[in-house]
Symmetry: C2
């Protein structure tokens, strides 16, 4: 077994931190209680461990390949995707009206993690399809929804996001792909899109490309971008004028075909406008926000599998004795204090980010399904604050965890056949695609912090203070240690928020110079806050004699998070608040 789904920890997050019981009170989610969660997670674990995970290394060694315009995916991917579709996994969180299972994100996020732990490259196909479904649910016409969504929910068809062009990456204002209106109400699409994940493959009967393009005569910049459906196969079974002209040769996620797509070389690809002209970017953001959260889960997922691999190696590899002589005969390097420290770092970051994502998922569910408008709005604000953290912090931490996983393996980690190097390579895309960490940080600073003068951020700080008050009632070493670090981190967060709110307008360069350190600080704090809550739950359960081994490990992990991860926060405050001038004072020509 190369991967074992952490169902126990996921259920802890779902029940104790995200609060599945409350989610099951929401209209439409009445069946989605803890028992359902447990059953779904166990099924997902079985499928991902048994079917998807074994293909991860295969995909690295035998990537998808392009020949004569046809992309053949890694051996085994096609059958695995068929099984995925037949198992109903693509429709897990989508509406029952379109054939989905309509489960809350509070359950779905854990399944997303498992799929990505099992196989990051494979999981990208469903991830993009999820985004396309979301966009069509938001902005598609009823006819479009009927025509496309059921086929995507069932896994017969897959979806893509076509944003990037050679000159238009983070800056979508520079999109040049053009759409010419036709008398029949359709459009002809012309242009080149790059970095299109699963832009061409052999796992489904059709591919629904969602494409950003400019209608002839549209305004410059982001206000002139429209969204189009461009199916690979037309309703009459003929091929549309979209062609995969090459696949990228990448550092990682090699099994996932990253296509250059050429639209309209033979008269124009037929495109159908989604929603209103020139509103394309707003619709695409729906897709991107879903995808950003999911990429954050990819970070957690990669970290979890890397942790498991490192633990396995550390148990088996015999090499020397621990300094305190505690290694028994034949004992592994896991007895060495620094190996423990590395494993604990990996574990604490993974569990912290999982908990943060779970709590964000519950807010998403409440934001969508709660009967009270004010509660919905409050949860929406919270969720939107968390998305750049789930994406930015979890993926950055996955780089650290992936690197530590190699480190635990020593020289063997550098040998490709060991398999852990793949994780190090795969991880690096996560901080880049669906908006780099800097793009997430811009979102966090601009839309989520400066725009409301720091109100949303301070409201969360208030919730953290309440957790501190709970910690203060306890006298365990773990609770006291956590309180010390959590309070210092929360105070640092508030310092930064206040500084950004005050300086945001007058000194945008300086404020944005601190954007990524602020994101790292805030993500660390939010994950640490959840570890603080977890610690208290675990202490109480332990006292009640419930699942003692798990609870003891949770307490130890939370303690570690406090002293080794949360302790990074105050220094980051200094970087943001005092360090802006140092970033901006270097003359450009001197670099």
């Amino acid at each position: 077994m190369t991967y074992r789904a952490p169902v126990r920890d996921m259920m802890f997050v779902i029940q104790e931190l995200a609060g599945i019981d409350a989610v099951a009170q929401l209209p439409g989610f009445e069946e989605a209680g803890a028992d359902t969660a447990q059953a779904v997670l166990e099924e997902a674990a079985k499928f991902n461990e048994g079917v998807v995970a074994p293909l991860n290394w295969t995909g690295d060694q035998q990537p998808s390949a392009l020949k004569d315009g046809v992309v053949t995916t890694t051996p085994g991917f096609k059958d695995a995707f068929k099984a995925f579709a037949e198992g109903g996994w693509q429709g897990l969180q989508h509406p029952a009206d379109f054939g989905g299972q309509g489960l809350p994100k509070t359950i779905g996020f854990a399944c997303t993690e498992m799929l990505n732990s099992a196989n990051l490259s494979f999981a990208l196909c469903p991830l993009l399809t999820d985004g396309a479904i979301e966009a069509l649910l938001t902005a598609g016409s009823p006819e479009q929804q009927q025509a496309y969504i059921p086929k995507m929910v069932s896994g017969e068809w897959t979806g893509t996001m076509n944003l990037t062009e050679p000159q238009a990456g983070s800056d979508l204002a520079a999109v040049r792909t053009r759409a010419e209106p036709q008398p029949d109400g359709t459009y002809r699409i012309f242009g080149t899109k790059i970095f299109i994940t699963y832009g061409e493959h052999d796992m489904a009967d059709n591919i629904v490309h969602l494409v950003l393009a400019r209608v002839t005569g549209a305004p410059e910049g982001v206000k002139g971008i429209s969204l189009f459906i461009v199916p690979k196969v037309m309703p009459d079974g003929s091929s549309n004028d979209v062609h995969c002209v090459s696949l990228e040769h990448k550092l990682g996620i090699k099994a996932s075909p990253t296509a250059v797509l050429q639209y309209g070389d033979h008269g124009g690809a037929v495109g159908y406008l989604v929603g209103q002209e020139n509103q394309g970017l707003a619709y695409m953001f729906v897709m991107m926000n879903a995808a950003r959260y999911a990429v954050g889960m990819q970070g957690v997922a990669l970290a979890e599998r890397a942790y498991q691999k490192a633990v396995g190696y550390a148990r088996d590899r015999v090499q020397g004795k621990a300094v305190d002589g505690s290694t028994p005969a034949g004992g592994g390097i896991i007895h060495h204090p620094d190996v423990k420290r590395m494993l604990m770092t990996m574990r604490a970051l993974t569990e912290g980010c999982r908990a943060m994502a779970g709590v964000a998922a519950a807010a998403y569910d409440a934001a969508h399904a709660h009967p009270d408008a004010a509660t919905r709005a409050q949860n929406q604000t919270f969720y939107e604050f968390m998305v750049p953290l789930v994406k930015g912090f979890s993926t950055e931490m996955s780089l650290e965890v992936g690197s530590l996983a190699v480190q635990v393996h020593g020289g063997m980690g550098f040998i490709e056949e060991t398999g852990v190097a793949q994780m190090y390579r795969d991880a690096k895309i996560l901080t880049i695609y669906e908006g780099t960490t800097a793009i997430q940080a811009n979102d966090l600073v601009g839309r989520k912090t400066v725009r409301d003068g720091g109100a949303a951020a301070r409201a969360i700080a208030g919730q953290i203070e309440a957790t501190e008050a709970e910690l203060a009632k306890r006298d365990s070493v773990a609770a006291r240690g956590m309180l010390l670090r959590l309070r210092a981190a929360r105070e640092a967060f508030v310092d930064v928020v206040n500084w950004m709110a005050a300086e945001g307008k007058a000194n945008p360069g300086g404020v944005y110079a601190g954007s990524v350190p602020y994101l790292m600080l805030a993500g660390n704090l939010m994950a640490g806050w959840q570890m603080a809550r977890a610690l208290m739950v675990a202490e109480d359960k332990l006292a009640a004699g419930e699942d003692a081994e798990f609870m003891r490990a949770k307490i130890a992990t939370a303690r570690f998070y406090a002293d080794h991860i949360l302790s990074r926060v105050p220094g980051q405050r200094d970087s943001v608040v005092a360090g802006a001038d140092a970033v901006m004072s270097m003359p450009l020509e001197a670099f």
Copy 2:
């Protein structure tokens, strides 16, 4: 030009921080003043930029390959190595008695950096040869020295270090390769060695393997290990019984052949004992210490080239406008505050580590050549304290810098053809070979801190306090900012040292649990200390109107180092001093 040697910054370190004028006062180094340094560096720059650097990408694409027991290196490597040898570069720091140039390390370290920036894989061959020369200078008989050293110094022959076996990596006590004494005083060597860098190749006429093995009947453990010379080609021109049976398929440094060597499959490889039986590990440490410092320079070197590549891309890549509107038409992403922050992080870490290494090199020279024994001893202590920091901190920082270099490139960074992904892959070996970061940290804690009760560490802290006193006399913003961070970092360092000295014997597990955070803290501080010294020199030179652009950039970089890098230190103190229990309290079965 893919790489431009930072001669100006190197000369700044050599003259202003390492103090070449004082080195040139040492007996034997009279000719090695600033003018010599400048001339040597300019020649080295020309050679490495022109001949070696262009082969870096080639090596990644066309690695060394094994066929029928013969290793063919990357096209171009053989000629480049010939040119390297003919240029006298292998002998740069070796004694004139053996054909070397006898230059001080204070000059040589910069040449080491350049060679490694140009091509990490290529540079490994001379790096290992340097180590073999050092070991023979220390422990070889006069006959052995005459037989091997001149040929290695001239680059006709190369050297290897044969330590690792499948069951013996960090733990050399587990070495099993055996040496059977022969009546003629030679030995027959039998065993398998793995991870042997340039263990077989076609760039030289002979390879001098230095091999750790156990003489029949030797004691168990490290006290029974001897060191042998095993030449690939025997004096009579016949082949010795050592064979390359495979090359590793690696994450990075692919051009460098990493061999599995089989000794004695055909009757026994002829080996010549170096020094005394059972003293092999002590001799090998000579070689390893030279190599550890050099691997630290590999970290600096990789970071420098990654920085240059990222700056180049950031200037050229047009994408959006900076938040403050400061991007001119057609201006690159270098105008974005977070891109500046990433570049400054890369630059500050690189310059800080280079400065630390330069100052350590000057101590090495004084430790070897100073006429006064007490001064020699003092410098030796300082140098020995710095070696694990140069190795450990500089290589860990190169991981951060390599990852940031990819990040600056965005999606293009993930495409192998861009070339920056190679740096990310290459870097990961640096924290592993020649002793992992944890092994460096064990050395720092055990031999360099706890053994003398923290005396050496506190002596250095005293020197840093003197720098703080100098800073305190200045009222520039930069000096005040630096003072604040340097003082806090030095105090944190002393806290950790005191804690380790006090706890070292009673609580070794806890102390070693903090060993790597301590190493990161100490390395950060030592590099930051040199940046503080650099800042004051630059302020003075700027006031004197000397090289204003360079001096302004140095001040900006030092300021950045203070607020963004040194500011990490206090949190690390908390991890070490408060966080040990959190590492050690997790039951092993719960991982």
